[in-house]
Structure formats: C-alpha cells, structure tokens
C-alpha cells in the first residue's frame, strides 16, 4: 500500500513542480506584491489598494479593456459564423473538400506574429494600391485610424482562426446520425428546416467549446496586436495584454502592472465560468 502511494507521488512530482513553480507560486507572489511598491527586485512599502484604485482612473488601461471587449464580441460572433459555414461547406460532397479543409486550417499553424506582419503589408500596401486603382477611398490609409486598426485585427483573427473553429464544428457534424437526416428527408423537410431542427441543435455543444476558445484567445491576444498595429495610432488599438506588458516591462512599473494583471485574471475567470455555465445549462434544456 505504501509502495503504491510512493509511485503515485513520483508520477505526479514533475508536473506538480511545473504547475506550482510556473503558475501557482507566481500568481500568489504577484498578487501579494501588487499591494506594495515592488519594482521587480525589492518591495519595502505596503501601499494597500493604491494600484487598484489608480487603474480605475487609468484611461489607457480602461480603453484597452473596452477595446478588447468590443474586439472579443465581434470576433466570437464572426468566428462562429464563418467556422460553422466553412464546416457545412466542406462536409458537403465536394471534390475539393479535403483540399479546402487543409487550406482553411493552414493559417492556424503559422504564428500570430508572422501573420500580423503579412497582413500589415496587405492593409498598408495592397489595400492602398487597390484603393487607388478602383478609386475607393475607404481602402486607403488602413491601420492609420482606430477604426481601420480595429477591423484590421478582426479580419486577421477571423482569417486565422475560422479554420480551427471549422474543425471543431466538423467533429460534431460528423457525429449526427445519418438516420436522422434520412428520416427527415422522407418526412419532407427542406434543407433549411433540417438545419434548424436537426443540425443546429446537435452542434450546439460545439458552440460551447468554440465560444470558450474564441473568447479566451481574443481576450489574451498579444502577438497579432503587436505585429499588426503595435497598439497604434496613439495606443488606441492597444489590447489588455499589451497594456500590461508595456506597463511592466516598458515603463518598469512592476507592481502596478501586476495589479492590472490580477484584475485581468478576475475578468477572464468570471467571463469563462459564466459562459461555460450558461452554455451547459442551455444544452441540457434542449
């Protein structure tokens, strides 16, 4: 019996050390130090809630939260729309179906940083050129304004992640029993009715998964933000992650940055848990 316990702990030690030293200890250590004047090396004064009060008056930080929320809502909606549409498209009996899956998924394999640089070229050079060629003014000066920066980030993210969400939807689509489809055809349902009453309810769990994934990815986004807009113009497209990185490692305000990071953690945890709870409940009802 004791031997068994020993093996149990031996098998768990490496991952417990990993999680403990990389996630748990820093989280506790950082939370404690967010109440001090910590500069990354030492802290000699307890400042209480000072940083937490300040961040609620920090325009840059509040703006980055608001920008991130707007961005997340739009991308969650578009990603699920495109993800499901692409999944429905490539699960039809098309000759090109397998090839298309490969293509739609491809951007996911190439890092966000690199994709951001490619799209920077497209928005700045190609859009400008096409805009001049066609005389469409709205295509010119992309990424130079807040609105174009926002939509630039949305387009990049949707292009990058739709293929991933597509794969999730395909996995659930393939689990729909064929008899259900057949019998609905015999009953005379048209393809819209079939989608509404059979396909859509049965892929609802995929929505839970993909919403969790898209929400957490868009909330934590950094690489794409850095390489596409670099937060500009005038920090107006700076997302939360970038604001925290720049506060801590750019302005060297470690304790203040960590206070922002704690608030960020609470926001992400609350949103994720609420979303999963709500979606699970809805699934059961159906």
């Amino acid at each position: 019996m004791r031997n068994r316990d020993l093996a149990f702990w031996l098998f768990l030690t490496p991952v417990l050390l990993g999680l403990g030293l990389v996630v748990i200890v820093p989280l506790i250590y950082g939370t404690i130090y967010s109440f001090t004047n910590w500069n990354g090396l030492t802290a000699d004064k307890f400042v209480g809630l000072e940083h937490y009060i300040n961040l609620f008056q920090d325009k840059g930080f509040l703006n980055s939260i608001w920008f991130t929320i707007k961005f997340s809502v739009v991308t969650v909606f578009l990603l699920n729309f495109f993800g499901l549409s692409l999944a429905l498209l490539v699960t039809r009996k098309l000759k090109s179906a397998n090839f298309l899956r490969t293509i739609f998924f491809m951007p996911n394999l190439i890092g966000g940083l690199i994709l951001g640089f490619i799209w920077q070229f497209i928005f700045v050079s190609v859009f400008d050129d096409v805009g001049q060629l066609l005389g469409v003014e709205s295509l010119q000066g992309w990424l130079a304004t807040t609105a174009t920066g926002f939509w630039g980030l949305v387009i990049l993210t949707v292009w990058q992640m739709s293929g991933y969400i597509m794969i999730i939807y395909i996995a659930y689509l393939q689990n729909i029993p064929n008899e259900l489809i057949e019998s609905s055809k015999i009953d005379g349902a048209n393809s819209f009715q079939r989608f509404r009453s059979i396909t859509f309810p049965l892929v609802a769990p995929a929505f839970t998964v993909s919403m969790f994934l898209t929400l957490s990815t868009s909330f934590k986004m950094y690489d794409q933000n850095l390489s596409l807009t670099n937060g500009g113009p005038f920090e107006s497209t700076q997302m939360v992650a970038m604001n925290i990185v720049r506060t801590a490692f750019g302005a060297n305000e470690m304790a203040y940055g960590q206070a922002k990071a704690v608030v960020f953690f609470i926001i992400v945890a609350v949103i994720s848990l609420t979303q999963v709870y709500y979606n699970k409940k809805r699934e059961v009802d159906m």
Partner: protein, 271 residues
C-alpha cells in the same frame, strides 16, 4: 439537372473561398520576389524578374539556420517532457480514485483559466532571481503551462484502458513504472499524438514568453522575426522574403502530417 447545377455552384463557391483564403500567402510570395521599387509601383502583378537576392539577404540577417535550430530544440525538448510527464500524471490520477486525486485534477484543469499575462511579471522576476531566464527555464515553463490540458486529455483517454492490463502486468512481476512504460504508454499513442500536435502548434509559434526569457543569440524563429522586422520597416521586399523563409518549415511539416494534425485538433476539441 437542377441538382447537378446546384452542386457545381457549391463547388465554385468553395474553390473561390479557398482562393481568397490563400491570397495573403500569394501576395506575400509574389512580392518577396520583387525589388523595392517594383512593390511600390505594382503590388498585385507577378514579378518582372526573380529577385532571389532578397531571400539571400533575409536568410543571412535572420541567422536562419541558428534560429531554426533554436526553435527545434526548444519545441522538441518541451514536447518530449510534456508528453512524458503528463502521461505519467494522467495515468496516476486515473488509476488512484481518491478525493485527493480528484482535487489535483481539478487544480490542473482550473489552472487553464489563468491567463499567461496574469503570472508573467512575477514569473520573470522569480526565474530571474535564480538565473533561469534561459532555454532551460523556458522549457520548464512550457511544462508548467502545457501540463494542464495535456493531463486532462491523458486522464480522459485512460478511462478507455482496462485496469486488468495493469493487474496482469503486476502479477507478471512488473513494477508500477515498468507497467506504465511497457503496457500503458504504448496504448496512449493516439492521445500522445494529439497532445504533441496541440503543444507544437502553440510552442513553435509562441512569441511573448520567449521574448521575456531568451537572449537574442538563442532566439526562436518568431522572436528573431520580430527583431528582423524592426530592422526592415518600409523595406517590404526584404521583410516579405524573411516572412516567406520563416513559414517554409511549417508548410513542409503541414504537407507531411496534415491528416494527423487536423485529426489531432479535432480530437482535442471534442474532449
């Protein structure tokens, strides 16, 4: 007849969408072969000649062989330890049904809620104190961040492996570790593929963590790409050639393993 036309229409729409999806890569590739002036005057057309000098210059400035090796080492070692240690943990947790093991599993799953940005500042400070801001520290960090999802997947897969296999091995005189190594681990191979693929996609492309941990001489491809790009703002011909070079290893990998990659991602998503 009407049905057939509808089918053709679907095929055409699908292929058009596929081409739109590919167009960013096309624009990158054709312009990587142009001169600085030609990109300025004609960004959409095919290149007049083939400026292969762009690639040579980018290849040298990216220190590409070195960056590629750094990426391969960091990703390879990280994946190996994540697969090895997470599968052991998933096995131990699945076979010891107790309150404590349930709690430990919950701890790992719960940790997935913690965004990286919430721990990065103290993480860098702490690892800096013990002089672990290097490749060794980085690989250990990847174990810490990667183990949660991996253990969760291994734990799920263990339910499909019968306990009687363990018992038979014990009766034959194998100890716990031998049982795991020779009986269980080989049976976990499909899920190990999934765990490996999901972690490779993330670690290979990660920029933020290496940027906080590694020095430029040990830079991985994304990190080196960032330095390189900063150097060549407004010089798109070189920047695009560099981006093309950086993408090539991924495209080659995808070409050889696309079935496994897509299957792995689907597997990870359903769980």
């Amino acid at each position: 007849m009407k049905h057939k036309r509808k089918k053709y229409l679907g095929e055409i729409v699908a292929v058009l969408l596929g081409l739109i999806w590919l167009s960013p890569f096309y624009l990158m590739l054709v312009n990587a072969f142009k001169s600085k002036r030609e990109i300025f005057t004609d960004v959409l057309g095919l290149p007049e000649g083939l400026e292969t000098t762009n690639f040579v210059e980018a290849f040298v400035d990216l220190d590409f062989i070195n960056s590629l090796m750094n990426s391969l080492i960091v990703t390879g070692v990280s994946i190996a330890i994540i697969v090895f240690f997470s599968s052991m943990a998933g096995y131990a947790l699945a076979r010891n049904k107790s309150k404590l093991s349930g709690l430990i599993l919950l701890l790992f799953v719960g940790a997935m809620l913690i965004p990286f940005q919430s721990v990065m500042i103290p993480l860098v400070a702490l690892f800096g104190k013990v002089e672990l801001l290097n490749r060794f520290g980085l690989v250990f960090m990847y174990l810490g961040f990667g183990s949660s999802l991996s253990i969760f997947l291994y734990h799920g897969a263990m339910t499909g492996i019968s306990r009687s296999l363990d018992e038979a091995a014990i009766i034959d005189g194998a100890n716990k570790f031998q049982t795991f190594r020779y009986i269980i681990f080989p049976l976990l191979k499909p899920i190990s593929m999934t765990v490996g693929i999901l972690n490779v996609i993330w670690i290979w492309n990660d920029y933020l963590l290496p940027s906080l941990v590694l020095s430029e001489s040990n830079a991985t491809i994304p990190l080196k790409m960032f330095y390189f790009f900063g150097q060549y703002t407004k010089q798109w011909h070189l920047a695009l050639a560099g981006l093309t070079i950086a993408i090539i290893p991924v495209v080659i990998g995808y070409f050889f393993a696309q079935k496994q990659i897509i299957a792995g991602v689907a597997e990870g998503a359903v769980k």
